[in-house]
């Protein structure tokens, strides 16, 4: 539930940020609401198609298909989380500025409202389909019930909608950088944990048989079945009996994320220095 809430909130936060700014900036443009709502509806519908497709896909497989599909979905989620972190490191600061420029262009009549609706639609589709994939990955990784998933998702959605309204009314009163720093750490650990979980699925499918020795058994300290174990499993990918391959992949994901974020972040700084 917590993972669903964090992911949904994080994703909806971004779409909410864009929509909030778009709403505020286009305040004087006539008929802007129908375009923005249209963008949100189209983006949501497209995201639902992706989600439905993911569900149907899991029905198609038999035998080891369940394990392989779970591993694939988790891998996609890991890639998207990592890409997301790297993308935010590069564009986090630019984003607000870009959106404001597009809104200004619309107010000036140099771009049609359609362009802005498409920007909103694409933002919603990207975040929405990520949410659908991540939620599916979370169901696959910790077997969370539909009810707790729905509670987490709806709470995350409500919090995200609140952010959209706060952005609209307070126009960027929330310091997004502080929030991103915290969620970036959580997302990175979540990605590493999901990668380790994907390894476990591949091991069960007998696709990965190397380095499958259990390194330690810390069930006496925190069992996977305890509430603390479940919370840590969801947040940081804790497991009481990790295999060598799981640990290796976990550390690799952390390292790759840190290196990629450093690289793109320093490029951002260089550009800022060059232009500023």
């Amino acid at each position: 539930m917590l993972a669903a809430l964090i992911i949904v909130f994080r994703e909806v936060f971004e779409a909410g940020l864009i929509i909030g700014i778009v709403l505020a900036v286009t305040g004087s443009v006539p008929h802007r609401n129908r375009w923005i709502v249209g963008g949100v509806v189209a983006g949501t519908a497209a995201a639902c198609v992706v989600a439905a497709f993911a569900g149907a896909l899991s029905q198609l497989f038999a035998g080891m298909g369940q394990e392989l599909f779970n591993a694939a979905i988790l891998s996609v989620a890991v890639l998207m989380l990592t890409w997301h972190n790297v993308w935010m490191a590069r564009h986090g600061r630019e984003m607000a500025g870009e959106m404001r420029a597009v809104g200004q262009a619309v107010a000036d009549g140099t771009k049609s409202l359609l362009a802005l609706a498409v920007v909103v639609g694409v933002a919603v589709l990207r975040e929405g389909s990520e949410v659908a994939l991540f939620l599916y990955g979370i169901v696959a990784s910790d077997g969370g019930s539909v009810a707790s998933l729905a509670i987490g998702g709806i709470t995350g959605l409500a919090l995200g909608a609140a952010v959209c309204l706060l952005t609209y009314f307070g126009l960027m009163r929330i310091p997004p950088r502080a929030l991103f720093a915290t969620t970036t750490v959580l997302i990175t650990l979540l990605a590493a944990g999901m990668a380790a979980q994907a390894v476990a699925f591949l091991e069960r499918a007998n696709w990965l048989t190397r380095l499958d020795t259990v390194v330690w058994d810390s069930a006496w300290l925190i069992s996977d079945k305890s509430i603390a174990g479940r919370a840590l499993h969801t947040l940081i990918g804790y497991t009481d009996q990790p295999t060598e391959m799981q640990l290796l992949v976990y550390v690799a994901v952390l390292l790759v994320t840190v290196i990629l974020m450093r690289l793109t972040g320093s490029q951002q700084r260089d550009r800022a220095v060059a232009t500023g």
Partner: protein, 81 residues
């Protein structure tokens, strides 16, 4: 191995040590079940009226318990020797 009316049949299995094995679970019930075992490190949902294959790594001799995570009354064990 089959699963029907919320019970494993047979509930006691045996297998040779130090050899990877595969368990085939046939779920005859109208509800999905989840074959789970902490000591075997497996977890697998088997849909209603379908069959699931569970790969188990080479094991040391011992008794490994398993159960249905959706119905904890259904229990069984694999004895490795």
């Amino acid at each position: 191995m089959t699963y029907s009316k919320g019970q494993f049949q047979p509930s006691e299995l045996s297998a040779p040590a130090d050899k990877p094995i595969a368990l085939r679970v046939k779920n005859l019930d109208a509800k999905a079940m989840e074959f789970e075992s902490k000591s075997l490190r497996v977890e697998k949902v088997v849909a209603a009226n379908s069959e699931g294959v569970i790969n188990v790594r080479a094991l040391k001799p011992g008794r490994y318990e398993f159960y249905d995570d959706f119905n904890e009354k259904a229990r069984g064990a694999l004895t490795v020797q």
